[in-house]
Amino acid sequence: AKYRPTPEQLLDLMMAVSVSRDRDAFAQIFHYYAPRVKSYIRSLKVEEKSAEDIAQEVLLTVWRCADQYDPQKSALSTWIFTIARNKRIDVARREKRPEIDLNDPALVPEGPASPDRAYDAAQVALRVRAAIDTLPQEQATLLRSSFFEEKSHSELADELLMPLGTVKSRLRLAITKLRSALEDMNQ
């Protein structure tokens, strides 16, 4: 059960779902992601039963909206994360998530100083993973808690008995490192 598909394998499975409506491929995606989505939702203090319901709904959305997944825009894990995030906002808070529209003519386009980067999904996933693996343990732990436990930076500071400034600067360091791993992608 240590099987971990590579980003390329997951992408192939997803393409099979999207193009050929392949149920076996979907089952494999389900096996991999549903238990992780459940962990994510559980980490937000959602109780067991409804975390499982949300995980199921997320995977159903993956099937139903498969043709909306664009590997040029995001890694599969990222896309599934955003579905799970939005589903939880919907279920737990009864709110909508305000989102930009990339085709909106009122959107201020990228300038030469800050281009909207094109993404190669599998590449991005590999780069972020590699960069996370090089983080010092403490930064990696802080990063995980700050993303998945719905704690504000000041709550994390209280919990870790660290000054808020230290929490913020360590997180900033970690995120800057991860982001710079993505910076040079298209050069």
């Binding site: 995001s74 990222t78 998530r97 930009i100 009122a106 993404y119």
Partner: protein, 218 residues
């Protein structure tokens, strides 16, 4: 180019879905006007996706997959895709999405309430945790001196204003907290339109303001 960006903890909270809807609306609208923060949010989402991959799995109930597979049968209802709302003829291009969709009509057709030099429109009127307003400050005019009990974030949509902390142009976010006695002044050339989200009641702090506190709440 925008020079006053949201704090990175706000961007992160937006990326992972931890902001209440009014604040999320303000941050999202900023990212429509600021490619830098747009890229930052996208990177943060990529990081979140990778961290999701790393989570240790939680076991599902035994029939979980079969119950989901069973629901794949039958006619597939096309999921409500987020159709991008077209910009209607004559729409205000100063209002990017998602704000335009939340307002639902042209700026000039909104139910502005004129209060002195400032006009406002309330958004999310039923929420107790935030006060959310679209503000229009008359050009060259000064908003009555006031203090914020909580934090106020103001996103400039058109025109510009200054306060003791800076000069804010379209796309910029000004932050005022309880330590700031706040007196924004709109630039002379045009009215300044902003989206302001405040997380607690706002009191007027000047002597006249104190008198006006019944009628005005800026």
């Amino acid at each position: 180019m925008t020079s006053h960006h949201p704090d990175e903890s706000l961007l992160q909270a937006y990326a992972i879905g931890n902001l209440g809807e009014p604040l999320a609306l303000l941050v999202a609208t900023h990212t429509a006007l600021c490619p830098l923060c747009r890229n930052a949010v996208r990177d943060l989402e990529s990081i979140a996706g990778t961290l999701l991959d790393d989570l240790s799995p939680t076991a599902l109930s035994e029939d979980s997959l079969s119950s989901v597979l069973a629901q794949l049968d039958g006619r597939e209802t096309a999921a409500a895709s987020e159709a991008s709302s077209p910009v209607a003829e004559g729409a205000d291009t100063i209002l990017p999405q998602p704000l335009r969709g939340y307002l639902g009509r042209r700026l000039s057709d909104l139910p502005w309430r004129q209060r002195g030099v400032v006009a406002d429109v309330a958004l999310f009127p039923d929420r107790k945790d935030f006060t959310t307003r679209l503000l229009r400050i008359r050009k060259g005019c000064r908003v009555p001196l006031h203090r914020h009990e909580g934090l106020e974030l103001t996103l400039v949509l058109s025109g510009a204003f200054s306060d003791s902390q800076g000069h804010y142009l379209r796309g910029d976010i000004a932050v005022a907290n309880s330590s700031v006695v706040h007196q924004p002044v709109a630039d002379d050339d045009e009215d300044c339109i902003c989206l302001a989200v405040t997380d607690a009641p706002v009191y007027l702090a000047g002597p006249i303001g104190r008198l006006l506190n019944f009628a005005f709440k800026y």
